[in-house]
Subunit: 327 residues, 2 copies
Amino acid sequence: MLTTVKQTQMEQIAIGIDIGGTNTAIGLVDSQGTVLQKTSIATPTHGNIYQFITSIGHAIRGLKSATGTEIEIIGIGIGAPNANYYTGTIEEAPNLSFKGVVPFVDLLKKEMAPIQNISMTNDANAAALGEKVYGGARQMNHFVMYTLGTGVGSGIVVNGDLLYGYDGFAGECGHTTLIPGGRLCGCGALGHLEAYCSATGMKRTALELLARYHATDSLLAGYSLLTLEARNIFEAAQKGDKIALEVFELTGRWLGQGLADTVHHLSPQAIFLFGGPVAAGDFIIKPTIQSLNEHLLPVFRGKIQVLPSQLHPGDAAIVGASALVWK
Amino acid sequence: MLTTVKQTQMEQIAIGIDIGGTNTAIGLVDSQGTVLQKTSIATPTHGNIYQFITSIGHAIRGLKSATGTEIEIIGIGIGAPNANYYTGTIEEAPNLSFKGVVPFVDLLKKEMAPIQNISMTNDANAAALGEKVYGGARQMNHFVMYTLGTGVGSGIVVNGDLLYGYDGFAGECGHTTLIPGGRLCGCGALGHLEAYCSATGMKRTALELLARYHATDSLLAGYSLLTLEARNIFEAAQKGDKIALEVFELTGRWLGQGLADTVHHLSPQAIFLFGGPVAAGDFIIKPTIQSLNEHLLPVFRGKIQVLPSQLHPGDAAIVGASALVWK
């Protein structure tokens, strides 16, 4: 491993930025997809966009200094919820405090002048791009990435390229309807996939099941809506807890139903799953695949690969966003 | 109208073939999308594919003779359920008697030699292509066509081209799940959109509502599963029949839910609706649009055009299929 070469030679690097509801991760990424330096700052919860842009600029300059070597920043790629690739704006993002249409790319171009190669896409699109450039989809031209986290995002690749659609917002599969009139989604609509198959959705499912069975003997019985985390459910499932196992079973069944809708639209070669719940492996993958095939037309049954993302969990969003620059 | 010019000059024409569950329509189409001659033969219900291919060849030669002019057939485009554009095969079509994988294009190339420019796509893909080449989508690069008939088909155009996906079967939106565990679909799965929003689905809805309300005073009360047709429901709705009106209301609400799933995947500029139920106009379009917007992320609400197809109902499938040749 000649990593010291990287640190002693001048080289071109890209900035990858991942804007999440809570934190914003920023990293320096080389042309091989290696994260050289990274940091994280809080995403503002009260919506001062100008301060936020300034903070990002500070963080980038800090990272550049921290490398201790001469590097050239050739561009910045940003992954953000409800990002519009065409216009460089963040629009009506339900999980961010910035409301309306925020001209994020233009603001960052001013902050980071003279750097002008700055573009932005949906955070899940960025992850899909990372899978295509560096991960398990390097040989694939038709695939979909589902990111399961606080919400559920998705990125669609057709004919080898990210699909943006007419106005830049294609790939919001987390907001397809699973259960008509069902759970309230963060976006205000009812019954969306995100309300069932996200890490948050799994917590809601656990509480529903605890209530339904009055399961006082469950390992999850002592958790509240505020204290329960997805990993508690995973740990309980590993110990054979019936409620936890049923959470994974139901989540997989719901996810399979949603993936079938995606297959019927797009006929992908594979669907990649990324995020915390995927770490549960067969607990969630098995019911997902079974349900997927039950909901599919015969012509698709048994043919769609459901694969865990090959991107490093901690770096996927940064690396994916940076791929916008190299591309 | 100089139509006589067309009939006295030698010209290049394309054959468009639309294979339906009951009938197969065949037409000679000029480069402007005008159908010069057309005919219809029965689609076999007992699956002798070789006889069927021979019958199609006979019909084409008959149409060519009937023109009474010198024409050159430059190719044949076929729209068929479960058609695979990449391989030229019809695969596991639920509404056809040909089971398994039928090498339709290869068989027709033998029958029609020396004509070798023969290609085939999903019947709904063909309609979408017709809308793009000759209809209301001429200026659009991102749109979706839903065809509402015995079943529900769809064709997806992204970046100006039909989307085929990995194995050629993209655009089966009629088989997305609307109601988990709901009505049995023709494909064997439960709760698919086709089981609710097709003309057949509307009949099923009418019978359900007649039963639910024991609506002996409805204009539809005397019809059976075998005698009821979609146009009876339309005519009853025009007379203010409450059951018929509720059929359209429910069908539109279901369709809107399904269209929202499509928008969340693809972010199209417009969704075109084609087929008998669309003739009911606002009876179905109004609840469709209302439901669509209720199910959409804020970023899409109010922005998606829902439009009736501009293709002539009787010719759309033939014209669309023929567009494969010109393209």
